[in-house]
């Protein structure tokens, strides 16, 4: 995710700009308050103080179900020192200059906002305390705060933040880096479970999601997209469509994925989406997709098989001399692993609403995980200034990485341009959604390991066949050069070869890790067996003493072997792991570990295999995400969700199949989803708290469950499954 890494650095700059905005916004509000408009006082970009001493806190990041709309305001409210019942949370619009980076991706929100969000709250609190100091003529050091009040204990004086706000906004915003923060023992909100801020609205069916956007005069668009990704329109005829009732426009558009000047979809706009969708069959389109027609699932498999048998096209990581070490190894272990192309299948289909105003300003309502990137895409494809585009964030019915891409925004904006003054809502039907994804790329690995007479790993080779272009992996198809255990083995050789595809690829929850964990932890379990060990023990020996291993990429933290061992030991204790083989036919237990997205996770699963069907009975999770779990109730949700999502990838989801360039899947029949009967009885969680800043939970618990299941199936049946999804026959 190298483009994202760049953005990560600019986030720091944007945060400082956000700090500067604190002063600016405060001054602005002073003028309003002085005019007696009754407008709430603003302390910084994130905090509004209402005259009744309630507080609006802006939630800046897209909410996809990860709980961020609740969690980021918790950090601000804690340091502002108000009580949770005094606040109202409002979804902020897209404005990275004001708020800093607004993205639901990479499990970054926690590590990147833990300090800035707290500092924003603490800075505002300090301004309020300084206002009281000035008004009361007592030193700030003698003042305390609680539940939205400044208190002078010695005199018994108290004042609400609201009463102090007019004075506070005159005070220069403090240097946020120097504002004192609470010490964790005094937290009143952080670390206490807070239910989702939107839960009451969700359970009464309130309009919250992108697809629920309703605007006066709004019309709906259905899409006819080239069935082959990358293909374009040669010509089309909409004569029959235009004869239908209720049709207001037929607009050819460019999804942003084909060259400028070309179109790859036609949007049919009508007074009803159902009607627009129904009349799609009346449109005749001649597609130009000859260049893409040669791509197929069968073709990829054939190429992969051929490439696995040849030398890698490029080197990813090399140390020592792996071939020489393998030649002197007491035992070598060779295995091929593979995983398929997958769709995201968010339950809310892709959709977006746009309105082109008469003055050329474009207003968008988007369920997007990365709206600022969408603004850039729309500006590029439509040749309009980014400043002319406003994006309102809606709640999002599942992201999983699909909505880091903004094709729906780009397309609906073009329809809106064709009918200025009319809001247009584009909705993909389920088949559109499945066939126009940014797919998790599949991959193939040939691994060879050597162990010495003592059972220690002395050599490792991996030939990774992945989707690529120009001698490089395409988006989300890469591998970490320092993939464990490479950095701790003396003689290592990781190489890559590439297969071309027309499919657009993208990030799926715990991208690359969801695949690599399966490959490497599955293979290491085979190495462990050859060495007469269980996987946790092989991991302990291979990790060795406490040290830091190289980071996966620029901007990410290093890999701490001590933290890895911490969670491995914790889960073994938690699940009473004995390492002894199963004695009950059809019952098995497996282990997996993975470090990704800054989180260390070790997991154990129990499975039952009966009549060729695998069922996960229980999952035990030990996680190290630092010193603080910010919202325990939501952390449990993310753990359960990630573990069960991993079970789906291991056992339920079927490969996306491509024939003659086109994806064959239609709906949840041929892309089956995890249902309640496949959910385990329990996902038990234990936290290993370490003295590190807290990190995110959306992703890192997912990867280890997949190899843990493969390893458990081996324990139950003696069968080693090396291809996802795991199938007994």
């Amino acid at each position: 995710m190298s483009t994202v890494s760049l953005n990560r650095r600019s986030f720091i700059a944007a945060t400082i700009a956000g700090g500067a905005a604190l002063t600016f916004e405060a001054r602005l509000t002073l003028a309003r308050a002085a005019a007696g408009t009754g407008e709430p006082a603003l302390l910084g970009a994130f905090i509004h103080i209402a005259p009744d001493n309630t507080f609006i806190i802006e939630a800046k990041n897209p909410e996809i179900g990860q709980g961020i709309k609740t969690m980021l305001p918790m950090l601000i409210a804690e340091e502002l020192d108000v009580s949770w019942s005094q606040i109202r949370i409002r979804q902020a619009d897209t404005n990275e200059k004001l708020y800093g980076m607004q993205i639901a991706g990479g499990s970054w929100a926690t590590p990147f906002n833990w300090m800035p969000a707290r500092q924003a709250g603490a800075g505002a609190r300090q301004m309020l305390v300084l206002a009281a100091e000035k008004l009361w003529g007592v030193p700030a050091a003698s003042l305390t705060t609680e539940a939205g009040e400044v208190i002078h204990k010695a005199s018994g004086r108290r004042a609400t933040y609201a009463s102090l706000a007019p004075e506070a906004v005159k005070i220069a915003a403090p240097d946020l880096e120097k504002v004192p923060l609470k010490s964790p023992e005094t937290f009143r909100i952080i670390g206490k479970s807070q239910p989702g801020v939107d839960t009451p609205a969700i359970v009464r069916g309130a309009p919250l999601f992108g697809i629920d956007t309703r605007l006066p005069g709004m019309v709906y668009a259905a899409m006819v997209k080239c069935p082959v990704q990358g293909g374009t329109i040669r010509q089309f005829s909409d004569a029959l469509v235009r004869q239908q009732r209720g049709i207001s426009a037929v607009v050819p558009v460019n999804s942003g994925e084909v060259p400028a000047g070309k179109h790859d979809a036609v949007l049919i706009v009508a007074d009803s989406w159902w009607r627009a969708n129904k009349v799609r069959e009346k449109l005749t389109v001649e597609w130009d997709s000859a260049a893409q027609a040669g791509f197929s699932t069968a073709g990829y498999a054939k190429q992969a098989a051929a490439l696995l048998g040849s030398a890698p096209q490029s080197s990813l990581f090399k140390a020592g001399n792996a071939d020489a070490a393998l030649a002197r190894a007491a035992k070598t272990i060779t295995a091929d692993y593979a995983y398929p192309i997958l769709s995201h299948a968010t339950l809310e289909p892709q959709n977006c609403t746009a309105l082109m105003h008469a003055d050329g300003k474009l207003e968008i309502w988007a369920p997007s995980q990365w709206p600022a990137e969408g603004i850039k895409d729309v500006a590029r494809v439509m040749s309009i200034a980014p400043e002319a585009i406003t994006v309102h964030l809606t709640r999002i019915g599942g992201g999983f990485g699909r909505r880091l891409m903004n094709d729906y925004m780009v397309m609906v904006a073009q329809a809106a341009k064709a009918m200025p003054g009319r809001p247009v809502q584009l909705i993909f039907d389920r088949t559109d959604d499945m066939r126009n994804d940014y797919y998790r790329p599949g991959g193939w690995h040939r691994l060879i390991a050597g162990i010495d007479a003592s059972g220690a790993m002395i050599a490792l080779k991996d030939h990774f066949i992945t989707f690529g272009a120009g001698g490089k992996p395409i988006r989300a198809a890469e591998m970490n050069a320092h993939e464990f255990p490479g950095p701790v083995i003396a003689d290592v050789d990781y190489g890559m070869s590439f297969i071309a595809t027309n499919l657009a690829t993208g990030w799926l929850r715990a991208p690359t890790s969801n695949a690599m964990a399966f490959v490497f932890q599955g293979f290491l379990a085979e190495v462990a067996a050859a060495a007469g060990l269980d996987l946790p023990e092989l991991m302990r020996r291979t990790l060795g003493g406490p040290k830091m291993l190289p980071r996966a990429e620029e901007g990410e933290p290093e890999f701490s072997t001590a933290r890895a061992r911490g969670v491995i030991d914790a889960v073994c204790k938690f699940a009473s792991w004995t390492g002894k083989p199963s004695t009950v036919k059809g019952k098995g237990r497996g282990f997996g570990f993975y470090f990704s997205h800054r989180g260390y996770f070790a997991e154990v699963v129990d499975v039952t295999v009966a009549d060729g069907a695998v069922k996960v009975d229980k999952v035990w999770v030990a996680g190290d995400i630092g010193a603080q779990v910010i919202n325990p109730l939501n952390a449990e949700h993310q753990m359960q969700g990630a573990a069960i999502d991993g079970i789906a990838q291991a056992l339920v989801w079927q490969p996306i199949v491509q024939e003659a360039g086109a994806v064959a899947q239609e709906n949840f029949l041929d892309f089956p989803m995890m249902r309640i009967e496949m959910a385990p009885e329990d996902v038990a969680i234990t936290w290993v708290k370490t003295d590190n800043p807290p990190t995110g939970l959306g992703e890192p618990a997912l990867p280890p469950v997949i190899p843990a299941i493969a390893n458990a199936i081996h324990d139950a049946t003696g069968k080693r499954l090396r291809t996802l999804p795991l199938q007994m026959s």
Binding site: T199, L347, L633, I644, M673, R675, I676
Partner: protein
């Protein structure tokens, strides 16, 4: 052809195409957007509503088939005694993640508990299997159903 039905205790007469699914009538013509579009094929349960007390897939129910019937959607499910308990349990246990499937889950759970006030684990599986939760909130769904049934897990 005008079609008359009761939606959330209010009689309605709708002038629309007879083959338009109830889902799209609710969402586009009655401004009831709580009922969700997930698959349009009867496979995900996001569009579940009660039709004369039975859970049905609104995406597979032509509006003509709902003529003369009483529909309850998520917006009014809490007016039913069982629905009220289900919504309360869902809130207390904070069941939603993204929340998109939850209207359908609540409607299916309400139908299940109306039929089977003390469901077994198998009853819950059978009653809820048609509802996909992509976020995998299944463990809390199971708990919430037991709680609504007064069988706190």
């Amino acid at each position: 052809m005008p079609i008359t039905l009761t939606v959330n205790r209010t009689p309605r007469t709708i002038e629309t195409d007879a083959d338009k699914p109830l889902l799209w009538v609710l969402r586009e013509e009655l401004a009831l957007v709580g009922t969700k579009f997930g698959c349009g094929a009867g496979l995900c349960g996001a569009c579940t509503v009660l039709l004369d007390g039975e859970a049905v897939r609104a995406c597979q129910t032509p509006i003509a088939d709902a003529a003369g019937k009483a529909i309850v959607t998520i917006e009014d499910v809490a007016s039913l005694p069982v629905g009220k308990k289900v919504v309360a349990a869902w809130t207390a246990l904070d069941v939603p993640q993204c929340g998109y499937c939850q209207a359908g889950q609540i409607m299916s759970a309400t139908a299940l508990l109306s039929r089977t006030p003390k469901p077994s684990a198998d009853d819950i599986t059978a009653g809820m299997s048609g509802n996909i939760c992509r976020c995998a909130t299944y463990l809390r769904i199971r708990k919430a159903i037991l709680e609504a049934a007064g069988e706190a897990a």
